[in-house]
Symmetry: C2
Subunit: 346 residues, 2 copies
């Protein structure tokens, strides 16, 4: 891997963008050069990266000239407008927004699950899946390969950082207001662009992103559709209920699955203990199970509370936790780039 790459980060000042920068440094990504792109409003501002101060440039088509890899995390409309421009200039785009995810010509990639789809990138754009989806498929794919998978019913416990820096600040502010007996004000969650806002401190909100016409939220539809696309299982039964909880970072998921073949808890343990990207945390004798505060800033997808359903011998329950900004976003994006380099696709 002596080749080096010219990388552009679009949206570096956001919650995911800053984690992308951390990961590029931490993982020693083979950088020939790096540039930081943002809206005209942020252009000209300084940004620190690995001890050097860079100047943010305006994200316009020509800014992608000479870029090999463009990491996008600046919102769906920015990706819609600029990802094709970057790709047209020869960059491989790895897009963290939802804009291109369901495009049949755009691979939707979790390297542990469907790395092979990186061989064919007709639009020059690769989509990074939804955070909640990534950690779930990392845990479920190895089980599916051994025992088949017919049904997935997931309820999520999602951290506020998934809604950006403003939501993290709001949780902190609301907590203080609550403790001081003041009125708790809400301006960000459940969705900044939606009409009403509700407190998240001491609350759970069964809405993430806005509602679609079928009564599901966009977040729920992302989990359903993206899981089927990544696992290449269009007829698999997938259902999701997505809920925001007052946690800073780390998404948790209560997942019920039904397998094609019968299996024991030991079988599932044996599959997961060597599964790529998975760390088993399942020792109930010693109260060991995954929890979001201990997953923060960690790379793996943690799985625990594995137990066979009491009424269905092909049914299993799992509890899956990962850092939504890392494996759920920034880390997975960098891992996509690393997989392409390793596989000599770039």
């Amino acid at each position: 891997m002596s080749k080096q790459y010219n990388v552009a980060v679009v949206g570096a000042t956001g919650a995911v963008g800053s984690k992308m920068m951390e990961q590029l440094i931490k993982r020693n990504f083979p950088l020939a050069s790096i540039k930081f792109l943002a809206s005209a409003r942020s252009a000209g501002k300084p940004i620190e990266f690995n001890g050097t101060t860079y100047t943010i440039e305006e994200a316009k088509p020509e800014a992608f000239d000479g870029v090999d890899i463009a990491l996008f995390s600046a919102g769906g409309s920015v990706s819609e407008a600029l990802a094709p421009e970057a790709a047209a200039r020869g960059a491989i785009v790895i897009d963290n927004t939802s804009h291109f995810r369901m495009d049949p010509e755009v691979p939707l990639v979790v390297p542990e699950v469907n790395r092979h789809t990186l061989k064919d990138i007709p639009k020059g754009i690769i989509a990074n899946p939804n955070c909640s989806t990534i950690q779930m498929v990392v845990a479920l794919q190895p089980i599916r390969e051994q025992y088949g998978l017919t049904k997935v019913v997931v309820s999520t416990y999602q951290a506020v950082s998934g809604s950006g820096v403003a939501a993290i600040e709001e949780l902190r502010t609301q907590s203080e207001q609550w403790e001081q007996g003041k009125n708790v004000e809400a301006h960000v969650l459940p969705a900044k662009s939606d009409k009403k806002h509700y407190p998240i401190a001491r609350n759970v909100i069964p809405q993430i992103d806005k509602f679609t016409e079928n009564g599901y939220t966009y977040e729920e539809m992302k989990m359903i559709n993206e899981t089927k696309k990544i696992m290449e299982a269009p007829s698999m039964h997938v259902a999701a209920t997505c809920v925001r909880v007052p946690v800073v970072s780390g998404h948790s998921e209560s997942v019920y699955i039904e397998l094609e073949k019968e299996a024991t808890v030991e079988d599932i343990f044996n599959v997961l203990k060597d599964a790529p990207g998975v760390v088993l945390q399942d020792d109930i004798e010693n109260q060991v199970y995954p929890m979001p505060i201990y997953a923060e800033d960690e790379e793996p997808t943690y799985v625990g509370r594995i137990r066979r359903d009491l009424d269905n011998p092909k049914g299993f329950h799992l509890w899956i936790v990962a850092d939504n900004l890392l494996k759920g976003a920034a880390l997975n994006s960098i891992q996509i780039a690393e997989a392409m380099i390793e596989d000599q696709l770039i």
Copy 2:
């Protein structure tokens, strides 16, 4: 209802006991007399009730002489020892602990669901179900009566008040520690009597109560077994994952069900809009759905986010929220007594 009753409250100083006292006053319960019983340690202490100061008496067998209705909420071991003594002295015991719930000679009652079982109380003891179970069966029973019910998969989002006053205090203390950048100390959750304790502030804990030998927690087994007993459906498929969240009061539940007959969302709406004890909060156009902060101190079981499964026309998803200390405990206990009075069983 001109008859009046001598009532004893065992465990009045706990989180549930104090709510029982509030409900007796608020609902104008026909009291001839009331007494407050506790351990020898608390005996002699004053306790306020409806503007009068009472003295807490020691909970010993003779204290139940002349008592018509004994409300127990002082832990399983107290109920085990004293509920039969109270019953032997002619009191009807309504026990909020788990001790007698699965006893086949003890009815386990949610008045909206199985009030008819109050006709036969062989031991003089009635059990009040687990908080998470009560709100779920209130919402599911009317659906089951119309469309049948074959499968229930629930993931809970349970408030700390379910673990008592100390857990509420700990959430507050930990929040302050977290905000001030101090070490967050844990002494109560997930279960006071278990070996390890974890922070609940900014966290979710997938353990409520201790673990049983089959890998499920006692809380999960309560939801599974009690749901089957209350609904008189031993072969119904019921599965539960119980999770503590940093909410003060109000349990939330993400529930997936499968019906015997096909139904539409409108059918489910029509069943629930007139169901006893249920308030529909389901208007996604206006972002209306149940949330625990708005359920606190409220009596109903709130149901929302009702939607048909996209892959199974007999599958539905619901989001169910209620105040765990009220409908989940104190209110349901008082409603049991009221139902017995109305049905002239006492």
